[in-house]
């Protein structure tokens, strides 16, 4: 793949939060790229973990056809731009809580309370134990679990009701950010409004919610995404969609699936700015 010269190291262009630079003063090592489960697709994905401050970062790759970098006196093909942005670890924990919740559900339909170190277990991705070191875990887990304390030891059980409410807050939080960042979520509605001249404001809010739901759906499994859509009272398929996305298409990537639920006619999704296959990119380093 490379130009045959062994000394020619592949360069990666990264955008990192500035505070990592300052934080690096305190650490000799501790920033590591690890493969963890992707909470949406269940596949392996590269994340960045800050061991010193116990933070999780998601890696997204911007990739568009026909681009290359000139970096000082060198050329780097591909024109890839890697983003490391802080990620809410609860999305990953949720993956394990739901899994354990399902496995332990008996005939009565009641899940068991379990200690966290028996929940976050993964033969495929052993680095998941890093999640257990995160600070304020107990506080985080309160959003999505019922908890019990026996002999000063905490036991947790996945709660779908609490999770949906937590996700609803996430959606509204994202809607605010979409508005402040002036992300265009409703080109279609605006165009329609131009001709019919009604329902502009009410439709717009729904478009924001649908868009935010699509973004959040990139971090949760489809089942939960569907439940959230129902809870948010999002219409399952919009009548105005020219090509309703086929639900049976399992070949779609996580990002595509999320986008399929969003009305894409005439709008730009933030996620579409990134290559959907960001899994292998870092692994190649």
């Amino acid at each position: 793949m490379d130009c045959g010269n062994g000394a020619r190291a592949r360069q990666h262009v990264f955008l990192l939060p500035e505070y990592l630079k300052d934080a690096s003063k305190k650490m000799k090592s501790g920033l590591i790229f690890v493969k963890l489960v992707n909470p949406c697709s269940g596949e392996g994905t590269i994340y960045l973990f800050n061991m010193c401050q116990q933070q999780l970062f998601e890696i997204k790759v911007f990739k568009e056809k026909h681009h290359s970098w000139f970096i000082n006196q060198s050329v780097q093909s591909g024109g890839l731009l890697h983003f490391a942005t802080p990620m809410d670890p609860l999305f990953l924990l949720l993956h394990y809580l739901r899994k354990t919740g399902k496995e332990s559900t008996g005939a009565a339909g009641q899940g068991k309370f379990q200690p966290l170190n028996q929940v976050v277990v993964d033969d495929m991705f052993p680095n998941c134990i890093l999640l257990l070191k995160l600070p304020d875990l107990e506080k985080l887990l309160r959003h999505v679990t019922e908890e019990k304390e026996i002999d000063k030891k905490k036991y947790y059980k996945y709660s779908k009701e609490k999770t949906i409410k937590w996700l609803e807050k996430k959606v509204h939080q994202t809607v605010s950010a979409l508005k402040t960042n002036n992300i265009n979520v409703s080109a279609r509605v605006q165009a329609n409004a131009f001709f019919s001249g009604d329902q502009v404001s009410s439709d717009k809010e729904e478009d924001y919610i649908r868009y935010a739901h699509g973004l959040i759906s990139d971090y949760i499994p489809k089942e939960l995404s569907d439940d959230l859509a129902k809870y948010l009272k999002l219409p399952e398929t919009s009548a105005s969609l020219p090509n309703p996305p086929s639900k049976k298409n399992s070949k779609m990537t996580a990002a595509q699936k999320a986008l399929a639920k969003v009305d894409k006619s005439g709008m730009k999704s933030i996620d579409s700015f990134f290559a959907t296959k960001n899994k292998k990119k870092i692994g190649e380093i």
Binding site: D2, C3, R8, A9, Q11, H12, F14, L15, L16, P17, K21, A23, S24, K25, K26, M27, K28, S29, G30, I32, F33, V34, G44, M51, E58, K60, F62, K65, H66, H67, S68, F70, I71, N72, Q73, S74, V75, S77, G79, L81, F83, T85, P86, M87, D88, P126, N127, H143, K170, Q173, T174, S176, A177, L178, N181, I183, K268, I270, F273, I285
Partner: protein
């Protein structure tokens, strides 16, 4: 997937040397609107840089006989750009050269709180370091400056949106 090798890969951690983030020299980056199929040295300073002209609206240059138009893109606040490279195997811990005063006691403590070093660094682990940093780059388009709809500009708004998606929500 291969079974035994795969396990090693799954366990493998790629360490980013923190010291290199502080000491990375400033780099000049250009994002070209074409795919150059090779990775390696290029005399950018000899051919490309001297040909850049300040036109009436934006920068102009030509590459392989095609006219490019471009402009400086400043990274969103709070972000730093880095160019990272993989260390060759057996190159040794470059970090030692960079982390001046690493025998500092505070630092030791911090280290031990996190995880003992031997647990962090194992034989099959790999290391990357930041070779250069940047706060802006030049974005080039063919014939015209990439407009506000350019995908890369959209991507640069991602960190602020990601912050909202992943921020903690208030408890009830």
């Amino acid at each position: 997937m291969e079974s035994s090798d795969e396990v090693a890969v799954e366990k493998c951690r790629v360490h980013l040397r923190p010291g290199t983030l502080r000491d990375a020299a400033c780099a000049t980056l250009h994002l070209l609107p074409c795919e150059v199929q090779v990775n390696g040295p290029a005399p950018v300073e000899r051919f490309f840089t001297p040909a850049i002209r300040q036109g009436p609206d934006g920068l102009e240059v030509s590459f392989r006989g095609r006219r490019l138009r471009g402009e400086e893109v400043v990274l969103p606040p709070g972000l730093v750009g880095y160019v990272t490279v993989m260390e060759e195997k057996g190159e040794g811990p470059v970090g030692k050269d960079f982390s001046e005063g690493s025998s500092n006691n505070d630092e030791r403590e911090e280290q031990e709180l996190a995880e003992p070093p031997e647990a962090l660094e194992r034989d099959f682990d790999q290391f990357i370091g930041a070779a250069a940093s940047f706060s802006r780059f030049t974005l080039w388009g063919l014939e015209t400056i990439p407009g506000p709809d350019a995908k890369v500009r959209g991507a640069l708004t991602w960190p602020s949106l990601a912050a909202a998606i992943h921020a903690q929500v208030p408890e009830d």
